[in-house]
Symmetry: C2
Subunit: 332 residues, 2 copies
């Protein structure tokens, strides 16, 4: 099951969440509206990028989980605005990521850079990030602006570190985990924490949800990187093999490399440099590196799940746990 | 004289402004600092982009002009933070603009995209914009975040509209003025207005300074576009001819085109399409289109200057008037 299917099929909260996400979608669309038609045409295209709505879902669920509530009365317009803001930030990163990755396909459709060129994609990403900060300001709470500003700083740092480590076949696992923590963990951690803050959670619960989010985000990114190596565009809905083509070493390859003796290491370098994905897929399978990678992701998810033990029991906490398990089994 | 030379040589305010801009530079540098060395190395390069510091200067001057003050006691850390924020926003647009314009040279040095590639330039621009919003949040005043969010929305819209009108040789003068108003006028207008707000100016004075800033910004951009057509890299310190090479019609060419009969118009289209800048320079001179463009800029500056009549007389107002005149005579 995909993550959104897990949400939809949840008996206690599925319909509440779907309705909330609908409202979030409306806030998103309304705020993206421009006085210029050209800009609006581009934003229509952007709708396609809105797929899983994982981050808005986590804002709302964390808000409910922080106090053990599962009633709509505990949600208000601030949650919906914050949920739209984090989705906008996420989409801005997708649009700019697709430039960096020279990707053609995203969510089964052509990317902005492919359709309109890199220059339009640069500006559209900027427009999204600007709109997200602007929408965030409407909450009237400088601490939320500040927190999300910190997250986007961290996110950009993660991307820069990743770019600077391109083609470094000696890159250590720690560096990889630092990059994905910044790139993916930081925003998801903020979704969970800020959702909890808006929901009236106490400091300890907000902090637990922040850590849960960071770790779930890291596991999510590890699986993303596995799918980029092992997956098929027809299934994932986006270009695959991009990391390898761009010389970005991800966890499966790091695990494979670290298990090699020095003679096999030369051969590994040759295969990576020749971008021979099918050969690597075979080795990842036969060497057990893929299993080790999945085991790492599982451990990170287990740690994430343990964070939630201090939260009040209830369907929101249950669904968060279920989603964190779903991160490991998703195929798209 | 360049704009910064006008500031330095001002008897009443020169030394105050230079000292203030030094502090702004420190705030800027300190806030851009990252925990990662790679990011810091890139930010060092960015220092080169900080040239005229026009926008910080306008924040401080407008703050003084709004109440007729010219004493340091009317300035505090909020002014310096705001000044650093607007310079960061401006520099983010420069880094991303250089990608859009495929420019090699900026302020006499290699651009980020040339030195490190478009991917790094995309992320560095994102980092700057993120840092600017984050620094802005430290002011603790959501209305300033909101105002600058609106400005960056408008700025991105201006860029998108410009991109969508590339290679449109029929583009009307109104569309051009709309683009430069959004791209350049909006941020300079906000610098003047928000500086005035922080300085304690009343609504009427803040609004007068906003309009002054927008119009000064439009005139500034018109001259920028003239210099891109007529200037030399050795003098302007940046790549020239980029607008023409990228099919961006600017005011001098629009004036030239609008003065042609239909037969000469075909010839104009041919010359523009062949990117024959030297031929265009000759025609801009001989047809009077260049003079008409300068006359348009002069009129806009005159309107801008008239906005300041309601402000209390004093050296800050005088220097704003002098800077607006300087916009017309600058060569870099």
């Amino acid at each position: 099951m995909s993550l959104i299917e897990i949400v939809i099929s949840n008996e206690a909260l599925g319909s509440l969440l779907i309705e909330e996400l609908d409202v979030v979608g409306d806030v998103f669309k309304k705020h993206l509206h421009s006085s210029d038609d050209d800009v609006n045409d581009l934003c229509t295209h952007i709708e396609r990028y809105r797929g899983k709505m994982l981050r808005p879902t986590l804002v709302i669920l964390s808000s409910l989980a922080a106090t053990g509530s599962y009633s709509r009365e505990n949600l208000d317009d601030r949650h919906r605005v914050l949920a739209a803001v984090v989705e906008m930030i996420h989409m801005a990163t997708l649009v700019h990521d697709d430039i960096l990755d020279e990707s053609d396909v995203r969510r089964g459709g052509a990317t902005v850079n492919t359709l309109y060129g890199n220059d339009v994609a640069v500006m559209l990403g900027d427009y999204l990030i600007s709109k997200s900060f602007h929408l965030c300001s409407t909450l009237g709470d400088p601490s939320i602006n500040m927190a999300l500003g910190e997250v986007t700083n961290t996110l950009c740092e993660g991307e820069v570190i990743q770019l600077q480590n391109k083609n470094d076949l000696d890159m250590k696992q720690d560096v990889y985990l630092d990059i994905v923590g910044r790139k993916t963990g930081s925003l998801i951690g903020a979704c969970c924490r800020l959702g909890a803050v808006l929901g009236g959670g106490d400091d300890e619960h907000c902090e637990a949800l922040r850590l849960f989010g960071i770790e779930m985000g890291i596991a999510f990114q590890i699986i993303d990187d596995v799918l980029d190596l092992m997956g098929k565009t027809e299934v994932t809905g986006k270009s695959v093999g991009r990391d390898l083509d761009l010389g970005k070493l991800t966890l499966p390859l790091i695990k494979l490399r670290d298990g090699l003796n020095s003679r096999d290491r030369d051969e590994f370098d040759r295969i990576v440099k020749s971008r021979d994905r099918s050969e690597l897929v075979e080795q990842l399978d036969s060497s057990g590196a893929l299993d080790q990678t999945m085991e790492s992701a599982r451990k990170i998810v287990a740690t994430a799940q343990s964070r939630l033990e201090i939260l009040p029991a209830g369907p929101a906490r249950e669904l968060l746990l279920e989603l964190s398990r779903g991160v490991l089994t998703r195929h798209s």
